[in-house]
């Protein structure tokens, strides 16, 4: 083998070792997580979503107890921080963040259904709604819904609704 070829191979190995050819692999389809369906009671999407996520992690708390603790009748709803506080009161660790769709996919892939705030409204009309993600794939984004199989939302629509609400999500993790 000539000296030039040998030098070329050495250079290639050196560059490869520097990780210049490495890149993050796409997350791909994320498997479905099973969450209890949401209650259809008015203004209760937050408590019902939190109840389902806590139950997913092994803590069963009735929705009405959560609602009595954090629901505001005058504001007709709850805040993400309310859900975080209640989860901490049950002994869980919480992380409230602003992120990207990749963050959500990673959370689902890690078995941690993120609770997201969506704005289902149009234009100046706001329609806030809480839900938890149970899967992400080419067919769309799987969200907790009122049915047993949840709701499938097209990814562009989900991203738009999530961005309107500030791209926030709440991760709940059992304390180690």
């Amino acid at each position: 083998m000539s000296k030039g070829a040998l030098a070329f191979i050495r250079l290639g190995l050196a560059l490869a070792s520097l990780g210049l050819t490495g890149c993050a692999a796409p997350i791909g389809r994320v498997g479905l997580l099973r969450l209890a369906p949401q209650s259809s009671a008015l203004f209760q999407c937050g408590p019902t979503t939190l109840a389902a996520v806590l139950a997913f992690h092994g803590t069963v708390v009735p929705e009405d107890i959560i609602s009595r603790a954090i629901y505001s009748p005058t504001a007709h709803g709850v805040l993400l921080t309310d859900l975080a506080w209640f989860a901490r009161s049950q002994g869980y660790q919480t992380e409230l963040r602003t992120g990207t769709s990749e963050d959500l996919q990673r959370a689902v892939a890690a078995g941690r259904p993120p609770i997201v705030l969506l704005d289902l409204g149009l234009g100046a009309i706001r329609q806030p709604h809480f839900t938890a993600l149970t899967g992400w794939g080419e067919e769309g984004v799987h969200c907790q819904g009122t049915g047993a199989n949840g709701t499938l939302v097209a990814e562009p629509k989900f991203i738009r609704q999530w961005e309107r609400a500030g791209k926030q999500y709440l991760l709940i993790t059992p304390a180690s």
């Binding site: 209760q44 999407c45 805040l79 309310d82 409230l96 602003t98 706001r126 709604h129 500030g166 926030q168």
Partner: protein, 143 residues
């Protein structure tokens, strides 16, 4: 002249090593030197006190922004106090930076949306229900 002649007789590896060392020291001489040294305790405390003051001011402002926004959303004073007490510093910061998108999750917006749609439909029906003869008579009077 004699030294130059003797240099040519040195082995090549010595010459190349010498050239490399000369280059290295040359770059070292050209590179700006960083000054490092101990600072007085007074300067250190003054810097950390300023940082602490700035953090306090930032938290107070965030508190105010979040409190105002919660009031706009309909939370009572007692509910606001409770929420501010329960929120972590990071959550308070998050609420403050996201104050414009802060919403209490529920379906109240759906109710408002339906009301707006109903009102629009009623308005359209009212406008379209205006009889043609009444319009013609108004035009005739003004002609």
């Amino acid at each position: 002249m004699k030294s130059l002649a003797s240099a040519h007789r040195l082995p090549s590896w010595i010459r190349s090593t010498a050239a490399l060392l000369a280059c290295v020291f040359g770059f070292h001489a050209l590179a700006p030197s960083a000054q490092a040294g101990p600072i007085s305790s007074f300067d250190m405390l003054a810097g950390s006190a300023r940082t602490a003051d700035l953090n306090t001011i930032q938290q107070a402002l965030e508190h105010k922004v979040v409190k105002q926004r919660m009031g706009e959303l309909g939370f009572t004073a007692g509910e606001i106090q409770l929420r501010l007490a329960h929120a972590t510093d990071a959550e308070l910061h998050q609420l403050a930076t996201q104050s414009e998108t802060m919403m209490a999750g529920g379906v109240i917006g759906l109710v408002i949306s339906l009301l707006v749609i109903v009102l629009l439909v009623l308005l359209v029906m009212r406008v379209s229900a205006t009889p043609v003869s009444a319009v013609d008579s108004r035009i005739a009077r003004t002609a």
